[in-house]
């Protein structure tokens, strides 16, 4: 009889706490979104599964000695996984559209307003009882507005590790929701005539220019913003491997095998942060709300900046492309293309939107660097 009792004590049934069940349901919800709705499945699937594994009673997968504990410490606690992903993204990014039309960098900069405005908003939330965000917390939350998963995880792991789960989930969910969040904002801020503007074809860019570009960006970062060099440096390494043409094997590995392997472990490690005591708080709700606001402000500022540039250039720029200034490559550019086609079925804006889109990646990495340089991490 006693043996049976001991056996019962070691089952999941006897040890479940209600919070763990709720978190498992959250994990299953993420799995549902990934599989049925195809929301960023590459990340939400491992994150969702990681959340389920973490909340298994007795097994302690996310406690010292458990698999997820180590993958988190090695990969995210150290900041290595997001950087490896960034190298892969660099190897996948073609800067041709941006080099052909460098003014697009201004759109990538304007869309970062979302990040800094949200930082302000996060501190404002402190007036509501139940919220207690420090400046470091607020910065980590605000970077969701950059719509760049790896950057958000990198910054959160440095500035607010305890909020990492909620921030990562918010960042990736909103990236998946780009096609739903952006179009209404884009349409509200532009008129039919502006959406119909057809843009000039971009000039061809030489291989030499594409090769020098990553080195130039790296030099600029080294000189003016060393805090951003982990992100920008890995990004430029990937991009140089892509463009130099002599290490195709490395470039292919960075953008396929390596990024896939890292994505699996990154997802699982982020999932391990979805434990009941860290996720089931009012602050998580605040983070989700702030993330949406950050995203909306970023989109709006990008479009407004593009509108201004359109006016100054005498109507040569379609203001829609400003929305691609939030990174979310290439989803944001595709959304721009789609909204443009709705206004004028012969107007393909995809290539023009890729410029601000890749500028947005650089912009959010730079913004992350600035936040890292100015905001002290918690002790």
């Amino acid at each position: 009889m006693e043996g049976l009792n001991i056996l019962w004590e070691s089952t999941g049934l006897a040890n479940f706490q209600w919070a763990q069940i709720v978190m498992m349901l959250v994990g299953l919800g993420l799995l549902y979104l990934a599989i049925s709705k195809k929301f960023e499945p590459l990340l939400l699937l491992p994150i969702g599964f990681g959340a389920v594994l973490t909340n298994i009673p007795v097994a302690g997968l996310a406690e010292p000695g458990g698999l997820l504990y180590y993958t988190y410490q090695i990969g995210i606690g150290s900041g290595i996984f997001p950087l490896l992903i960034f190298m892969g993204v660099g190897a996948m990014t073609d800067f041709g559209a941006l080099i052909a039309n460098p003014k697009m960098l201004l759109l990538g900069a304007a869309a970062q307003t979302g990040i800094f405005a949200t930082l302000f908003g996060a501190i404002l939330l402190n007036f509501i009882p139940g919220f207690d965000f420090t400046l470091a917390d607020a910065s980590a939350i605000a970077i969701i507005g950059g719509a760049d998963g790896p950057t958000a995880i990198f910054l959160a792991s440095k500035l607010a590790p305890d909020l990492l789960g909620a921030i990562a989930v918010a960042a990736y969910s909103y990236m998946a929701l780009v096609p739903i969040i952006q179009p209404p904002i884009m349409k509200a801020l532009t008129n039919e005539k502006e959406r119909k503007i057809v843009m000039e074809q971009l000039r061809p860019v030489s291989a030499k220019e594409k090769m020098i570009f990553p080195l130039m960006v790296l030099m600029g970062t080294i000189l003016f913003l060393p805090a951003a060099t982990p992100l920008v440096g890995m990004f430029c390494l990937g991009n140089l491997m892509r463009e130099c043409g002599v290490v195709d094997r490395l470039s292919k590995t960075a953008q396929n095998e390596l990024i896939n392997i890292v994505t699996i472990f990154l997802g699982l490690s982020v999932g391990s942060k979805l434990s009941a005591e860290e996720f089931l708080t009012v602050e998580t709700l605040g983070i989700l709300a702030l993330g949406a606001v950050a995203f909306a402000i970023g989109t709006a500022c990008g479009v407004l900046m593009a509108k201004l540039m359109s006016k100054l250039s005498g109507g040569k720029i379609n203001p829609l492309i400003g929305a691609a200034g939030v990174s979310a490559v290439p989803m944001a550019a595709r959304v721009v293309n789609k909204v443009g086609l709705e206004a004028n079925p012969h107007n393909f804006l995809l290539m023009h939107a890729m410029g601000p889109n890749v500028a947005g990646v650089l912009g959010s990495a730079v913004a992350a660097g600035i936040l890292l340089a100015l905001v002290a991490p918690p002790l």
Partner: protein
């Protein structure tokens, strides 16, 4: 507490200003650099069209050679088909 939030708010507003200015400055600097680089190196793109002019004669020669090769191959094919009827 209220006072404390006030001071953090001020700091956040400061960050908003400094952050946006530096993002714009940095990316603006990059625009200048890209334009400079395009002037220095990017001359390639229009240059490639001007290179085409002298190479045209070579292309003509190549075409003549191609024609001969095509003629030889079609003759061989014809022969082969004749033999294997």
């Amino acid at each position: 507490m209220e006072n404390n939030i006030g001071s953090i708010l001020l700091e956040a507003a400061n960050l908003l200003l400094v952050g946006m200015v530096s993002v714009f400055l940095f990316l603006g600097l990059l625009i200048v650099c890209i334009n400079l680089m395009s002037k220095l190196v990017g001359g390639d793109a229009p240059a490639s069209t001007s290179v085409k002019t002298p190479s045209r004669t070579r292309n003509v020669q190549k075409n003549v050679k191609d024609d001969k090769v095509v003629a030889a191959i079609s003759a061989a094919v014809h022969q082969y088909r004749q033999d294997h009827k």
